[in-house]
Symmetry: D3
Subunit: 238 residues, 6 copies
Amino acid sequence: MRPSQRTANQLRPYTLTRQYTRHAEGSVLVECGDTKVICTASVIEGVPRFLKGKGQGWLTAEYGMLPRATHTRSDRESSRGKQGGRTLEIQRLIGRALRSAVSLEQLGEFTLTIDCDVIQADGGTRCASITGACVALYDAVQYMRKNNLVKGNPFRHWVSAISVGIFQGEPVLDLDYPEDSGCETDMNIVMTETGGFIEVQGTAEGEAFSTEQLTSLLELGRQGCRELFDIQRQSVGA
Amino acid sequence: MRPSQRTANQLRPYTLTRQYTRHAEGSVLVECGDTKVICTASVIEGVPRFLKGKGQGWLTAEYGMLPRATHTRSDRESSRGKQGGRTLEIQRLIGRALRSAVSLEQLGEFTLTIDCDVIQADGGTRCASITGACVALYDAVQYMRKNNLVKGNPFRHWVSAISVGIFQGEPVLDLDYPEDSGCETDMNIVMTETGGFIEVQGTAEGEAFSTEQLTSLLELGRQGCRELFDIQRQSVGA
Amino acid sequence: MRPSQRTANQLRPYTLTRQYTRHAEGSVLVECGDTKVICTASVIEGVPRFLKGKGQGWLTAEYGMLPRATHTRSDRESSRGKQGGRTLEIQRLIGRALRSAVSLEQLGEFTLTIDCDVIQADGGTRCASITGACVALYDAVQYMRKNNLVKGNPFRHWVSAISVGIFQGEPVLDLDYPEDSGCETDMNIVMTETGGFIEVQGTAEGEAFSTEQLTSLLELGRQGCRELFDIQRQSVGA
Amino acid sequence: MRPSQRTANQLRPYTLTRQYTRHAEGSVLVECGDTKVICTASVIEGVPRFLKGKGQGWLTAEYGMLPRATHTRSDRESSRGKQGGRTLEIQRLIGRALRSAVSLEQLGEFTLTIDCDVIQADGGTRCASITGACVALYDAVQYMRKNNLVKGNPFRHWVSAISVGIFQGEPVLDLDYPEDSGCETDMNIVMTETGGFIEVQGTAEGEAFSTEQLTSLLELGRQGCRELFDIQRQSVGA
Amino acid sequence: MRPSQRTANQLRPYTLTRQYTRHAEGSVLVECGDTKVICTASVIEGVPRFLKGKGQGWLTAEYGMLPRATHTRSDRESSRGKQGGRTLEIQRLIGRALRSAVSLEQLGEFTLTIDCDVIQADGGTRCASITGACVALYDAVQYMRKNNLVKGNPFRHWVSAISVGIFQGEPVLDLDYPEDSGCETDMNIVMTETGGFIEVQGTAEGEAFSTEQLTSLLELGRQGCRELFDIQRQSVGA
Amino acid sequence: MRPSQRTANQLRPYTLTRQYTRHAEGSVLVECGDTKVICTASVIEGVPRFLKGKGQGWLTAEYGMLPRATHTRSDRESSRGKQGGRTLEIQRLIGRALRSAVSLEQLGEFTLTIDCDVIQADGGTRCASITGACVALYDAVQYMRKNNLVKGNPFRHWVSAISVGIFQGEPVLDLDYPEDSGCETDMNIVMTETGGFIEVQGTAEGEAFSTEQLTSLLELGRQGCRELFDIQRQSVGA
């Protein structure tokens, strides 16, 4: 029995609100249960130095959390003077995941900068960030197309992410905070709409997990991502 | 004529949404036109070292801005490794302003930590932060009272803040971004419900301002703050 | 009765020593009672990136304090690895104040860098910095004129600054440390020789202040600045 | 055909040299082909603040790379003033992996600090670090037992790690640098001697990978880890 | 012929002004030609952690330079966020030199913090800092004796420092900036009043120097230090 | 009697292993007793900004120590966020010493970057670094000559370094850690093959040292360096 009374393969209520803020080319509030993340995609001219003159674009991501997004207040990273290891790990993951959603070659010398800022955390912030930011990214690419900044359509396919885990011996989908902090194994799965894996990150918290457990977690994750692709497509009316 | 068609002494639409996020003891979304700030007040046991053992409390404030809260994306301060001068100046102002709203002696050895995070900026973010955070502060103090963490009522009176300025030769209330970036003089006024000034900060952007202009700006500010006190009181049903 | 036995509108002994150090284009020791600040103005070719190619100049300011300028030794900011909020706030103020003293358009692509280093502190260091640095700035501009680095005279008018405050219920001019640390309201006023305000920053330390108090503080500040303009003019023999 | 002429499931020559340096309680040079890492385990009295007084121990890991361990010299992180995201990600992984190899409860209030410093890199440095550091950890625990710092044996089981990937369409074991930089999918697998997974991290570099590919990669990884457990056991004469 | 017309063994005019600033227990302006350094010695209760409870004291030193102490303005270290290698090297030297001037055992659990801040530089700032700070240190120890903070006299003997070098083939005493920047070999010598060496640091700038040159430099340095001991003693009326 | 049973003028066993790692143009493991340092020399196109366009080269050095190179683990400087004063002082010394071994004019616009990383410390790491890195530098210059990156031979002569000190009243050569931590005077001597001094740095740890002691230390150092030149020449078969 899950603390939230959900069935093992049941997602939390999931909403994507587009044009959530005014200035960004793409801006989405993603809500996955009580987890809420503002995702923006900014279109910026130019590319990092290592790509200059190659005619291709770049996508980079940053992740942050408001100090009181969590049960107890955490220090503001700008005040501590550096981003922690968890933050850097998550933003590297978001960047890798979303770079697979666009054709960097088709972008031209533009950088798409993704910002994911958690305003309320209840587990699964990195997966919600990827899923929500992919919609912001879609909108930013549409902005570029409308303004003739790009030829063709550099958006390749939807990318979504969901967490799965072994909670009290059972594989479950979309862990909330009480499950996440008590689970034996925690796995984040990033997939493309076309059914392939972009990233699989499973960690045993305590006891090791078996091949069978891994297999059922992957199956649950696949189901979850399929639902998320529908939600993403509906959000843009596609 | 103001770009927003407002009259000289007209505030922008102003809303205060309490309990905006779940974890903080006080949590308010303040919207002042297109300026939107999430303000939280956290109740934390203990006080900074310089106050230990004195039996009194403390209030401190931090301010941040999401990278794409503005027209063009600004660098994330956690990634740059330090808070800029503007950020530090604003959070020092918010702290001074709100320390006058509570009796630190009555608080006991607790720290109230205020976080103001701008999710969309259109001028006046520091004033909106003070006005909104004062409501979060009110709620945090009520939380302490309900949970018997404090005796009596350490909340002394409402504090609100508004900007005024000389725009195209005329004193106007509550500058939005187009006015703020084009005005000759910019002034932030922080007042208490009892009619006194907590802070007056006026800056000439270019030509100096006269005593007469200063007098009319102060009068406009007083009017604006009076309206804000009503909005604050209504938001808590008082 | 003031601790220093001064009357309410009496400045401390005030001296400006030009050419205090050898290398800077302008170099002034300002002494305001026991407050002593070395102010230098350096003429540096080039402008910050955001101004490149616009044909205009820039003025920037930095402020520091020797560790033992104060009663108890404070940490060296270079050793702590960052400038504190108070330092950043003060140097932003000095920069804004002195940018109004020169015509940046007339400067051409030069940067005037102002350094104010407090070697002994007894209250009023930011105001003494502005008043003293304006003389160093004057000298640096004369250096530029003599060396044909600039056409015409980019120095527009004198700028001076003084603190005022409510001490034991009375408005007083030019607070020294014992007054500053015990006053109810503290205000810094920056004016131009032509009688206008550049900056007015008043802060209630504790109880709020009234419009009447504000009015009498402004009047005191105006008097103080008038005296300082005379001292500045005399220092350069003008 | 692999650039190194190895068969798909062939490890590179793998050696573990114990007591490689003199001062650490455990010190191992791990060589996996041309990848060479010095791994030390230090026994330090006391635990981090969040564990104080709980009677249990802690294990933490740090990872570094000599500037010229790589083809082109990379900046020294101490000189840049911070550890990069990759470094932090790897040392978090090493820490999680090795915490599963010891019973923190049995350790008592000691911290085992693992340092992995790459002196020559040719792909697979994080996996070599885990496998080598586990032997250093074993030796440090033996040191504690011999010196009566601990009761019983807190070392639970061997933990090893290996990379697998899809290179030119084929699943291969233990990627060297030419394979790593050219592969389609890269996966790091951390296992316990008892056959369970501690960590599975697979990333598509470009095209997504399928469930079938994932399955064969996991099988290859299992084989590789089994060989490594033998090498670990032989190194300590067990 | 030296640029300054001095003879080879001639010091620059050298003055020590005690009680230069008001707050420090010892405060000296040292002027060595155009080199001017403010040296303060602060008496601070307590010692660093590594000495706690051992009943002895400590002495530490910090060194800084105003940005425009030099011909061209140098960056403020607090603004750059760290002290440079030259600064750290100098302050370590000052600390070592002056620790030999006091009996740390006799000091009790106090820390003497030496600050040397260069307000004008013309070569020889580190040597002037040591010589001047030793007088500030003397005064701080007298302050401790008068206030019964210490038993006996922890001041052991005078310590002074002077630079010597090979300029245009000739050994010369007390290099000013034009000599320092053009010399072949530069050596700093720190001695005690009792005739021993505390520190000898000689560096060839270009060609190596011979044993004979080293011998004559040491002899010149000894002469210079003897003169400085007289100046130190006279400054305190001893 | 020395703790190591060596005679006063006896070096520890000294070995230089060339081509110790694969990627650097020059790579040497230097072992001086139990002190072990990996020295690499990297050939990098381009020069620092202050030399651009002058047609000459540059040499710079960095020094580091693995956290557990020492008896007790020391913090990783990359994790603390800055290099300590000792590190900066040592790498400045290594750089100055080795710049005298090459003709920067002949190098052309290349930078030779020296990295010295201590993997095991037992006293004398800075001297071993200089002596070992000079061989790595030699190899890097030969690499440049073979690849026609340079005309002629910019390697001028061997540079070596050794420590000497007064231990229990006697001058001794090549201090190991027990001697170094207990000696009265410690001196590092850097010489060229041609018999001149590049750097002499002597420090009294406690009592001052006399001219006679200094003279005998210099003589011991000269002997030590002569032996090291032979070892350097033999290592390259010259």
